[in-house]
């Protein structure tokens, strides 16, 4: 399952979808909105997404992970819209026969998703706002 959603992410649901009977290990990463960035207090974040392409790009990442590890199940959910500190922005869950590969595959997918998926976030502070990573 690869999903982009405006609604709060149901972590339990993501885990269930990624589960598989032959699996011994399931690893889950939950990315939440931090309340500060570079010592500035974050009021909220605005996430947006080029949805059609984001799903395609994340699918490519999962396919690459499947080539490298024995993925028995996976589920990825990314939220868009307005998120407050503490809210969940992304959940990635993978299950594999053994535990080591569950950690490796999950971290690979999270790292690649952050580097490649066409998703953007703007941090809104008391005194301004900025698109994350836009400028050097």
């Amino acid at each position: 399952m690869i999903k982009i959603t405006e609604k709060p992410i149901d972590v339990q649901k993501v885990i269930e979808v990624a589960s598989a009977l032959g699996a011994g290990g399931l690893n889950v990463f939950i990315g939440t909105v931090r309340n500060t960035t570079k010592n500035k207090s974050v009021r909220w974040l605005e996430y947006e997404c080029y949805e059609g392409m984001a799903v395609v790009e994340i699918k490519k990442i999962v396919d690459e992970a499947s080539d490298r590890w024995n993925l028995l199940g996976h589920a990825i959910s990314h939220r868009v819209g307005t998120l407050k500190p503490g809210e969940i922005a992304v959940v990635v869950a993978v299950s594999t026969p053994h535990r080591k590969e569950s950690f490796e595959a999950c971290q690979f997918i999270v790292d690649e998703l952050k580097a490649k998926a066409p998703i953007w976030k703007k941090e809104v502070f008391e005194d301004g706002e900025q698109w994350v990573s836009a400028h050097p």
Binding site: C49, I119, W120, W131, S133
Partner: protein
């Protein structure tokens, strides 16, 4: 050639709209890049700017058709 360009994130702020119609000399991605760089110089300050054509990242030598879905992809920051 006339292209309809979709924008996201800071590229939308710079171009001023979610969709912009541009009249570009030439029909390659490189020609579109040159046009953008000249008319929207703030794009040159970004860490990167990719151009997606029909849901795939496109190199400079890709030829554009007026019916293509062309999207500006400024530095991503998901997660």
């Amino acid at each position: 050639m006339k292209y309809k360009i979709k924008t996201f994130g800071i590229a939308r702020d710079i171009l001023g709209a979610k969709e912009v119609n541009l009249e570009v000399k030439g029909n390659q991605v490189a020609d579109l890049r040159k046009h953008l760089s000249t008319h929207y110089p703030a794009l040159n300050d970004l860490n990167s700017l990719l151009i997606a054509v029909n849901l795939s990242y496109a190199g400079d030598d890709i030829e554009l058709k007026e019916s293509d879905e062309i999207v500006l992809i400024p530095p991503v920051s998901g997660g």
